[in-house]
Amino acid sequence: MTEALELKSRLKDKGVFLAGGTDLVVGVAKGRLSVEHWIDLSGVPGLSYVREEGEELAIGPLATHAMLERSAFAPALAQAARTVGGPAIRNRGTIAGNLGTASPAGDVSVALLALDARIALVGSHGSRSVPIRDFFVGPGKTRIAHDELIQEVRIRRSADSAFLKLGKRQSVAIALVSAAVVRQRDGRVAIALGSVGPTPLRAARAEAHLALAGLAPEAIGEAASLVRAEVTPIDDHRASAEYRRAVSGVLVRRLLEQLAASSKPESPARA
């Protein structure tokens, strides 16, 4: 790891960290990207783990989607990992790669955003921890400095969570819209969406509404329409903005109904 960081500070922009390669090598094949030097992390030992540590889950940067989908710690994370590509992609693609790519459609990133993950970065000048809310800057852009690496991702235990994605076809597909919801143990609900803005995004107004109104059917309906107003999708060759907007509400509603059904009716938490 230190070696990788040293290489990176030496090579600067000419060195590119390679994890599973499922984004990077495709980029090279498509001519979007040309790489002079690979800094292959996949051979670095000890970076591939998913470990419960008390009330937290610690995830190594090289943990693959296949590992995440087997973890019961946060259903939304496992469900999101399970929808990534086919098994061959899930066997190679990693959590750090998903975050590093910073695609608005990154499924695992959307789940992590709803789970309020903290991302530990390590660089030649030491380590720091970035809350995922501050991590994504734009499509393909993050707060990782050029000489930094994702060292670990941590999430806290939540009461319940779920993830849903709508693709162009039933199976393996890039999300037209994806959404994750999390009910914290204090009852607060978090909502994140993918493919409806330049980065995965949180539906803050809908969350605020639920904090007051709980998961009653009317509250869910209202939250869904707030989500529709909050998202900022675009038209592309996969779907129109209007469709994405409409379906964002549908997915969030369905997820919230799921949360409501699985939780005992309890009074909404007031901070």
């Binding site: 090598v25 094949a29 996949s42 162009k168 076809r169 890039i174 060759h237």
Partner: protein, 981 residues
């Protein structure tokens, strides 16, 4: 650098350049089975192997990343050889054998990746259920098989591994009176595919080969003003650069049809006019692929960009840009005076073999009309008249193996290793372009990794052949996946207007059909595809007053041509759905309306006399028609009259049905030949002109011969589709294989039988009428019997009558029509617009199913492709004519996860007097039902008629009034600018 791995159980040093991916390194090490289906985007799974026991796409791995790891390919699956046993390495593992038996191996291009995925699954889960199989194969794509049979294959293997005596459930077999026809038998080429053996064009390539790369036009419509190739030519390692300035000016058509073709000769190897994005600007032939790519970048071109014509409306607009403004000429039947004064020489010229009612200056590529009875009177008699328009967008046939050709000189002769459906048409067309006699050219059809009609056209062969001819070098030209999307051949988008008149009781009294096709930049199949939209849909209904018009317009979208179904899917969508709409209008059950008007045995199809591929057609009598049983069984299976409700609040369920038909080749046009020779031990060589595209044609012809000759299938070795070795065949298109190539093999076998009996009279000393052939390979007389072995030794001895050789041909003036009924049940989510196909039953009458499990595979594959077309597949263009999704990441083809929950292909046996042992075609028909059946079911579920495929969730929400605007808001160029990722 070298990378040390354990490869299939042995230590191996892989040679690799630093940036090489593992797939390339494996190919370098002689592993053929890691195939390249998506140009390294990780989205097809064809390149997968097991690394450390896990399924991994080798195109996404740098070779350096596997240092010290264990790699297993399909080669390692075969059971370990007992010491000294020579045959053992060719033995199949239990899993491989189960694949071969089940019919899941068609073209074989995806087979190794399916096998490795299944192997990994079985290693961690000895008894997987359907869902687990689906998950394990969810990243492994197959365009041929429709996946359904893989469940049985894997489960059979799992049970056999636990209990070697396990017998899988039997699939239906047919014709008790026959020994091999109608019975299950391994596809003859499947074991080789399952072992990852040498089979495809790319497996024939020598290390010395040069690589050809094409500079594609960046513009949809442009002239080349200036082109400078000097810098490219100077690059070390460049062998030749080809442009319109230094290549033959001969016009030709790429449609691999019988001569004289009903398609215009409207292209040159390179033209000065560019007519679609990706059209040929220049080709570089170089020592390596990298050098060829570098050289392409050095070619300097100045374009005069023209306004593109994209849609049918664009093409027909007054004053529209003219796609083909060259001089016209006719071989026969042209007008007495041709006015070419307005022609632009930069546009080249168009040569017609005979008139096809074209008017290129109005962008009209071809047209035809005709009819029977009197439609005006029919409509006057009608109580209800309904007029609707149906359309469909651009889809891809997407064979997993893109177009590929390898050409080389052998002495003074040019050898073309082709992935083609039409070896003889390739030879004819290339000979014309090179201006040499056909003696100088050999075309060898290799196994094709999927063809589906796209490989009926001469897409690459002309330019690779020319490059070899002038340089003497071996040349490999293989399309990337993107080139395959934008510059191969695919389905014509069509708009079809249907007008129906019916009496209150449901009797159809008039049908009018107007099919307009967008043929794209060149006119390959421009007359016959829209015509087929009519000729394969109208004869399903017995109506006395019918009129049709079929026409095609030039445009600047990706080139269109033949694609499985050949216009029939578009025609079926329009006519079947219109009839369904008529039923709603009349307040009738659609099944009753179909029943009342449908074709039946004994009907005379008069309409076919005006639907003859550019000439006089032949009216046909329907000798066999399995629609009675198909409709009856389908109705019961789907529980047609029972209205199904769904427990999910937002989901509605609906049912739909559609009738389908096709032909069996082209009577009066197609012709096939076959030769059987007897070997010295009484076994046979079968030389068939037929082109097996993975469909099982070689297995079919072999079985027909084995049946007649009372021989084991293993005692007949087949070679097919080689212009030097096998006799002529028009090729594999128009569903001709069973009927024509099969007919020729059958006739050759009958002739061989006569010769064997004749020769046996000498050996046995009995008159021929006392003799009969009995299994295995024996002639039995009243007094004694002789094996073929003995007969062969006798005939081939120094005093014998000579080797027994029988050649026969097959032509027809009558047709055999396969029929079918497709039933489906869909669930429509009224909030997301998503459609889930819950049940799909395809009931097909193919006469005698000669290879039952392979026939089923054709049906599953055809249906699943067209479910994809109906629901989500679509090429999206921007305003400049650029395709925005030319890859498998953005253009989705169905995966195993997209199968209907309950998917059944069912074969209905009928007795047809013409086809071999009563066989009719099965290869295209199954593509015709999905769009109309699903659209009908969507209407049944949520009450909206979807008249434009694909029926995307977004279009459905719009139709339901759940989205505010009536069409997508962004313009196409905005889409391009904003496309994410």
């Amino acid at each position: 650098m070298t990378v040390r791995v354990r490869l299939d159980g042995r230590l191996k040093d892989l040679d690799a350049a630093p940036g090489d991916n593992l797939r390339e390194a494996l190919v370098g090490a002689g592993i053929l089975s890691a195939r390249n289906g998506c140009s390294g985007e990780g989205s097809c799974g064809a390149c997968a192997v097991l690394v450390e026991g896990r399924q991994v796409n080798t195109c996404l791995l740098l070779a350096g990343q596997v240092e010290g790891q264990e790699i297993r390919t399909v080669q390692s699956l075969a059971t370990e050889a007992p010491a000294g046993a020579l045959r053992a390495p060719r033995q199949l593992s239990v899993l491989q054998a189960a694949f071969v038996e089940s019919g899941i191996v068609q073209c074989g291009y995806c087979t190794p990746s399916m096998l490795t995925a299944a192997q990994e699954l079985l290693e961690r889960n000895p008894d997987p259920d359907r869902e687990q199989i689906e998950d394990a194969l969810s990243g492994t794509y197959c365009r041929c098989t429709g996946y359904e049979q893989v469940f049985g294959a894997i489960q059979t293997a799992a049970r056999r591994l636990a209990d070697p005596s396990y017998a899988p459930p039997v699939i239906p077999e047919f014709r008790d009176d026959l020994r091999v026809v109608g019975k299950r038998a391994a596809k003859v080429d499947a074991p080789n595919f399952a072992r990852g053996g040498r089979a495809f064009v790319e497996d024939r390539v020598s290390e010395r080969t040069c690589h050809l790369k094409m500079l594609g036009s960046p513009h949809a419509h442009a002239y080349i003003k200036r082109i400078d190739t000097a810098a490219a030519e100077r690059l070390l390692g460049v062998v030749a650069v080809l442009t319109h300035l230094n290549t033959p000016k001969i016009v030709y058509g790429s449609a691999g049809q019988g001569f004289p073709e009903p398609s215009p000769y409207d292209r040159r190897m390179f033209g000065q006019k560019l007519r679609h994005v990706g059209d040929r600007v220049a080709a570089v032939v170089a020592e390596t692929a990298e050098i060829a790519s570098q050289a392409l970048a050095l070619i300097d071109v100045e374009y005069e960009v023209l306004a593109p014509v994209l849609t049918l409306d664009d093409a027909r607009a007054p004053g529209a840009p003219i796609v083909h403004n060259g001089a016209l000429a006719f071989v026969t039947g042209g007008p007495a005076e041709l006015d070419n004064s307005a022609a632009d020489p930069r546009d080249g010229e168009i040569l017609y073999q005979f008139p096809i009612h074209a008017d290129p200056r109005r962008n009209l590529a071809a047209s035809v009309s005709g009819g029977i009875g009197d439609v005006a009177r029919g409509f006057a008699e009608a109580d209800v008249i309904l007029e609707r328009e149906y359309s469909g967008g651009s889809v891809q046939s997407a064979p997993l193996e893109p177009h590929i050709v390898y050409t080389k000189m052998e002495g003074d002769r040019l050898v073309i290793h082709a992935s083609t459906q039409v070896p003889w048409h390739v030879r004819r067309i290339v000979a014309r372009i090179l201006d040499v006699p056909e003696t100088r050219i050999r075309v060898t059809k290799e196994r094709t990794g999927g063809a589906f009609g796209a490989k009926q056209d001469v897409v690459l062969e002309d330019v690779a052949a020319y490059a070899t001819w002038i340089t003497g070098r071996d040349v490999l030209f293989r399309y990337t996946r993107e080139e395959e999307f934008i510059a191969s051949r695919t389905r014509h988008p069509m708009t079809i207007r249907v007008k129906l008149g019916a009496r209150r009781d449901g009797a159809l009294v008039a049908i009018e059909m107007d099919a307009v096709a967008n043929t794209g930049p060149y006119g390959a199949h421009c007359l016959t595809v829209p015509m087929n939209a009519c000729s394969k849909s109208l004869p399903l209904f017995l109506c006395d007053n019918v009129h049709f018009t079929a026409s095609a317009y030039y445009s600047n979208i990706a080139p269109n041509g033949a694609y499985q179904g050949y216009g029939a899917p578009q025609g079926a969508f329009a006519l079947q759905l219109a009839v369904c709409e008529m039923a709603a209008e009349l307040g009738m059950d659609p099944m009753d309306l179909l029943e009342k008007n449908r074709v039946r045995e004994g009907a005379m199809l008069e309409i076919l006399k005006c639907l003859g591929e550019g000439r006089e057609g032949i009216p046909q009598l329907v000798y066999s028609c399995g629609l009675d049983q198909a409709l009856d069984q389908g109705r019961r299976l789907l529980d047609w009259n029972h209205r199904q409700e769904c427990d999910e609040a937002d989901v509605r369920i609906g049912k739909g049905v559609a009738l389908v038909q096709q032909g069996s080749g082209l009577p009066g046009l197609d012709s096939a030949n076959a030769t059987l020779t007897m070997n010295g031990d009484g076994t046979f060589m079968l030389l068939s002109g037929g082109a097996d595209l993975g469909t099982g044609l070689d297995t079919l012809t072999t079985k027909l011969a084995a049946e007649v000759l009372c021989a084991r299938i293993e005692d007949i070795a087949i070679t097919s589709g080689d212009t030097d070795v096998t006799p002529f065949d028009t090729g594999a298109y128009a569903s001709s294989g069973t009927f024509f190539s099969g007919g020729a093999a059958l006739n050759a076998a009958r002739e061989m039988k006569r010769k064997i009996l004749d020769a046996a009279t000498e050996v046995l000393g009995e008159p021929a009428e006392n003799l009969e052939l009995v299994f295995p390979s024996t002639v039995r007389g009243k007094t004694g019997s002789a094996t073929y072995d003995a007969i062969a030794r006798n005939t081939q001895s120094g005093t014998g009558r000579g080797q027994l050789v029988a050649t026969a041909h097959f032509i027809a003036d009558k047709g055999s029509f396969p029929y079918g009924a497709h039933f489906c049940q869909v669930a429509v989510n009224t909030r997301t617009g998503a459609v889930q196909v819950q049940k799909y039953y395809a009931l097909q009458d193919c006469g005698t199913p000669i290879n039952p499990e392979l026939a089923l595979g054709q049906v599953y594959g055809g249906v699943l492709k067209t479910i994809g077309h109906a629901l989500y597949e679509e090429m999206v263009y921007d305003d400049a004519g650029r395709c925005l999704n030319p890859n498998f990441t953005d253009y989705k083809i169905p995966g195993i996860g997209d199968l209907p929950d309950d998917f059944r292909a069912i074969l209905i046996e009928t007795d047809d007097p013409f086809g071999p042992f009563g066989g009719k075609s099965i290869s295209e028909i199954a593509t015709n039902g999905a769009a109309p059946a699903i659209a009908a079911a969507i209407h049944d579920a949520v009450g909206v008629w979807m008249r434009d495929w694909p029926f995307t969730p977004e279009k459905i929400l719009r139709a339901l009034g759940k989205l505010e605007s009536t069409s997508g808001s962004a313009t196409r160029s905005e889409l391009a600018a904003q496309a994410i990722q």
